[in-house]
């Protein structure tokens, strides 16, 4: 059997096993779920081995003589001392190194990229000097950099920040600002929800496209046959469950 044809059968079978969860939790889904965890962990291990052990440790040390790389290897090995209770405290050195470097790298970069840059992009000129017309105030809503959108973004950022600022009571004018912030937040949550749903729909369409492709005679129609097998197994499993007495919790 051709590897592509075999692949089509395996991919279709696994896809249908996971889709069977839409009926109810069942052994076919659990099997595919555990296989998914196993395969993805195996894949991550192989990729980590190839990237870290081969390309970052062995090759530079053997081919370029970068002996200094033995230091991070030693630090990494200290992490494994967690399995030896008496020496577990040695792993603190490894965590201290990672956390220290991570914190040090984060401070200036976060301030620069995520605070100052964001503030700079928020506080922009409301009027632009374009061409020979002098100062213009553009009302084009579809252009995110138009003057009207600059004002909306400024109101949004300030009101949301104020909503999360609890050092003063949200009353009087503050209440209005906080309420505006809530409205902006609700719109963003709704947009995030809609966007996520459509992203999942896109994945679903991808899987269904594959199932349609694999229903072709050139693959031996795995979609059709495996769909019949899956439904048959679900019926059998459902009848077996019905026959069993309910488990005591």
């Amino acid at each position: 059997m051709d590897a592509t044809v075999l692949g089509a059968w395996v991919a279709t079978g696994l896809t249908l096993c996971i889709f069977s969860f839409l009926y109810k939790d069942n052994p076919l889904f659990k099997l595919a779920e555990h296989l998914y965890v196993g395969v993805s962990v195996g894949y991550t291990i192989v990729k980590a081995y190839d990237t870290v052990i081969v390309h970052l440790i062995v090759k530079p040390i053997v081919e370029q003589g970068e002996i200094a790389l033995l230091i991070p290897v030693a630090i990494g090995m200290l992490m494994l001392t967690r399995y030896v209770p008496k020496a577990a405290w040695l792993s603190r050195y490894a965590f201290a190194f990672i956390v220290g470097v991570g914190s040090g790298l984060a401070i200036p970069r976060t301030i620069s990229s995520f605070i100052l840059k964001q503030v700079e992009d928020t506080v922009r000129p409301l009027l632009s000097l374009a061409g020979g017309d002098g100062m213009t105030f553009s009302m084009n809503l579809l252009d995110p950099s138009s003057s009207i959108n600059v004002i909306i973004i400024l109101i949004g950022v300030i009101s949301v920040l104020f909503y999360f600022f609890f050092s003063i009571e949200h009353s009087g004018p503050g209440k209005v600002v906080a309420k505006t912030g809530v409205m902006f937040l609700m719109i963003a949550f709704g947009a995030a929800f809609g966007y996520t749903v459509m992203a999942r729909m896109s994945l679903l369409i991808g899987r269904l496209t594959d199932l349609i492709e694999f229903s072709d005679a050139s693959y031996g129609r795995p979609t059709l046959w495996l769909l019949i097998v899956t439904i048959g197994m679900l019926i059998v499993l459902s009848r077996r469950t019905q026959g069993k007495p309910p488990q005591e919790s």
Partner: protein, 216 residues
């Protein structure tokens, strides 16, 4: 001993933290080299962290099989999937394709991992839709705003939606690029301020939870 167990790790954190915070402000090739090396070192140390995670998973399922707990057969499937993928991955030197032809590792990726991952996330579409149907009620003004924004964005992302509501595409883009962007920006500024404060607390030894509990 208390110095080695408690104070030296805090000292390491402080020195490395201050060193790499200062590195950003030193525009010198040696400083750039330090950053490149540190990034490589972090990747190497992070690789060992993966060993900790995998070993934990291995132990958990080994115990399940040993005690013949309910569903122990699925743990065997997990082992088979993991060990099988590792075997073909090492056999193919971690490469999915060689000279244009897919290796056995590439086959596992294309016909097992991609369909499993894609379908696992795809079924969430049904659960999100079902949860939304049950929970999305315009009970208050805020809930109504959330509902309308979600519907407009969903409609604006598909041709049918634009056909039914002609302006939904443009309004959806405006919501995402302007209203959503302003909220994301505000949240990002808040989170970043928190991250910077936490980093300072870690460097100066105020926050020590990363060292874990146990004996001093």
């Amino acid at each position: 001993m208390i110095f080695l167990r408690r104070q030296l790790p805090l000292l390491i954190t402080m020195i490395t933290g201050l060193l790499f915070a200062g590195q950003y402000y030193v525009p010198h090739p040696a400083s750039e080299q330090l950053l490149t090396s540190a990034t490589k070192w972090l990747q190497i140390v992070g690789g060992f962290a993966l060993v900790l995670g995998v070993t934990s998973l291995f132990h958990q399922h080994a115990a399940k099989i040993r005690r013949k707990e309910e569903g122990w057969g699925y743990s065997l499937v997990l082992y088979a999937g993991m060990l099988g993928t590792i075997a073909v991955g090492l056999w193919a030197n971690g490469k999915e394709s060689l000279e244009g032809a897919a290796t056995a590792f590439g086959w596992v990726y294309s016909y097992m991992l991609v369909p499993l991952q894609g379908t696992m996330f795809a079924i969430l579409a049904f659960f999100i839709a079902s949860a939304a149907y049950r929970s999305f009620r315009a009970r208050s003004r805020e809930a109504a705003v959330l509902l309308i924004a979600a519907v407009i964005v969903m409609m604006g992302r598909v041709p049918l939606g634009e056909y039914l509501i002609p302006l939904s595409g443009d309004v959806s883009q405006w919501i995402l690029n302007v209203l959503n962007a302003s909220v994301r920006r505000a949240i990002l500024i808040g989170v970043s301020l928190g991250a910077v404060a936490l980093s300072f607390k870690i460097i100066f030894g105020v926050e020590r939870s990363y060292l874990g509990g146990g004996k001093e």
